[in-house]
């Protein structure tokens, strides 16, 4: 059955993955706009809403890319490219259906962890390279944030790997055949979502690109470079949501619908949660977040590993 729904050709698989990620970016943008309009108490026109992301993209593409006086130009150019590449790798580790992931490596959670660790490099470079005050502060903010969420992110994935006896996401999904991890490891998903907000610098953890820095690392960026940055960030968001769906919501498993459809639906559900925080939760004070991440989130993640181990004995 899955063979019909999941193409064998590597090119078709890559195209399916690209469609999945691009569609996810579009859906996330729509959800953010929709919720924003709702919270603002403004009306919605379907046409303007649906065309919005494309118009925005066209606007940015027809705008000049700005430069600063003495930027680190190669690093500035590299940041969005690498970020997008990492997002693609991270999305590639996720099995969309039962038969395969595009890059379903055996050490999937390590590859995902490595990609998310390198996100720190991208955001830091994006802030550093402009040689301007606000982006610089934004870049340094993200380093503090990343050093704090990376441990819980890795630990909850390790906890999910325990019952699967494997580091691959395919096995992690299969290990949830009886009961999803969201029930079996109740601490996992909430901790993962906090870390996911951190790695996508979204909502309360949008500290590097915050309004109090006039846009932070984006403050000096415009045109195609800004479009690239926003697309790359959206791609990370989709990848992180897809990994969450596979790790905690049973991935492709579900009744009635074919596997990939379940992956898409669950990914959309997590995307909605991540995106909703943008309009519902105020930005945190970074110092507070760092202390809370180390003093509360990491111990909770360790507890998650511990409890998982106890249940497996």
């Amino acid at each position: 059955m899955s063979g019909v729904l999941w193409p064998h050709s590597i090119w078709l698989q890559a195209a399916a993955l690209a469609g999945f990620v691009l569609g996810g970016i579009y859906a996330a943008d729509l959800m953010e706009r929709l919720l924003g309009r709702y919270v603002a108490g403004a009306g919605v026109r379907a046409g303007a809403l649906l065309a919005g992301p494309f118009r925005e993209a066209a606007l940015l593409l027809s705008q000049q890319r700005s430069r600063t006086e003495r930027p680190d130009a190669p690093a500035w150019a590299l940041a969005p490219m690498l970020l997008a590449g990492l997002a693609a790798v991270a999305a590639g580790t996720v099995p969309l259906g039962p038969s395969a992931a595009v890059a379903g490596v055996d050490s999937g959670i390590v590859l995902f962890g490595a990609a998310m660790a390198l996100v720190m490099v991208c955001v830091f470079l994006h802030g550093w390279s402009a040689n301007s005050f606000a982006p610089l502060v934004g870049g340094y903010r993200f380093v503090a944030q990343a050093l704090s969420f990376e441990m819980p992110l890795a630990l909850v994935l390790i906890a999910a790997a325990l019952p699967a006896e494997s580091l691959s996401f395919g096995e992690i999904v299969r290990s949830q055949a009886g009961l999803w991890n969201v029930v079996r490891q109740p601490l996992g998903l909430p901790l993962y979502l906090v870390a996911a907000l951190g790695v996508t610098f979204q909502g309360p953890l949008a500290t590097p690109d915050a309004a109090d820095l006039a846009g932070g690392t984006r403050a000096e960026v415009s045109g195609a470079a800004l479009l690239a940055w926003r697309l790359a960030r959206g791609a990370v968001l989709v990848a992180v949501a897809a990994v969450g769906a596979a790790t905690f919501l049973g991935g492709w498993s579900g009744p009635w619908l074919p596997g990939p459809a379940w992956t898409v639906l669950k990914t959309l559900a997590l995307l909605a949660v991540l995106v909703a925080s943008r309009h519902l939760v105020a930005r945190v004070r970074l110092e507070r977040f760092v202390v809370v991440a180390w003093a509360v989130l990491i111990p909770l993640a360790l507890l998650d590993v511990f409890l998982t181990g106890v249940f497996l004995l």
């Binding site: 027809s62 006086e69 005050f133 606000a134 990491i298």
Partner: protein, 117 residues
């Protein structure tokens, strides 16, 4: 191996696609070169100095804690794979891990090293 190759191809392919995006943008609208346009934005006044400087990070103690923590954590990956097979032995090992990590955090927290300097 094939999967790793695919991951590498994804990294490379996406990177190239974004490079093309940038190139197309530059074709449509060449990037700015004039001196007044390149002045970093600070609300209408020019900066006095380069922003690049010996930047005083306030979380250096936390960063050092991370270094040790990171190293400790990677041991957990291979251990997680064999946990079910090894049973009690692996559990005891895990306990030791968790105790070490929690002790580290506890010490850092008591010393106020997590707060920013």
């Amino acid at each position: 191996m094939a999967a790793l190759g695919a991951a590498f191809a994804l990294l490379l392919g996406t990177g190239i696609a974004f490079a093309v995006l940038r190139f197309v943008g530059d074709l449509l609208q060449p990037p700015g070169t004039s001196a007044p346009q390149r002045v970093p934005f600070a609300g209408g006044r020019p900066p006095e100095v380069h922003a690049w400087s010996r930047y005083h990070v306030r979380y250096y103690a936390m960063a050092l804690l991370f270094l040790a923590f990171d190293m400790e954590m990677v041991f957990m990956y291979p251990w997680a794979v064999v946990f079910v097979q090894e049973g009690m032995k692996a559990f005891a090992e895990m306990l030791m891990f968790i105790v070490i990590l929690v002790l580290g955090i506890l010490y850092a927290w008591r010393e106020g090293a997590l707060e920013w300097a």
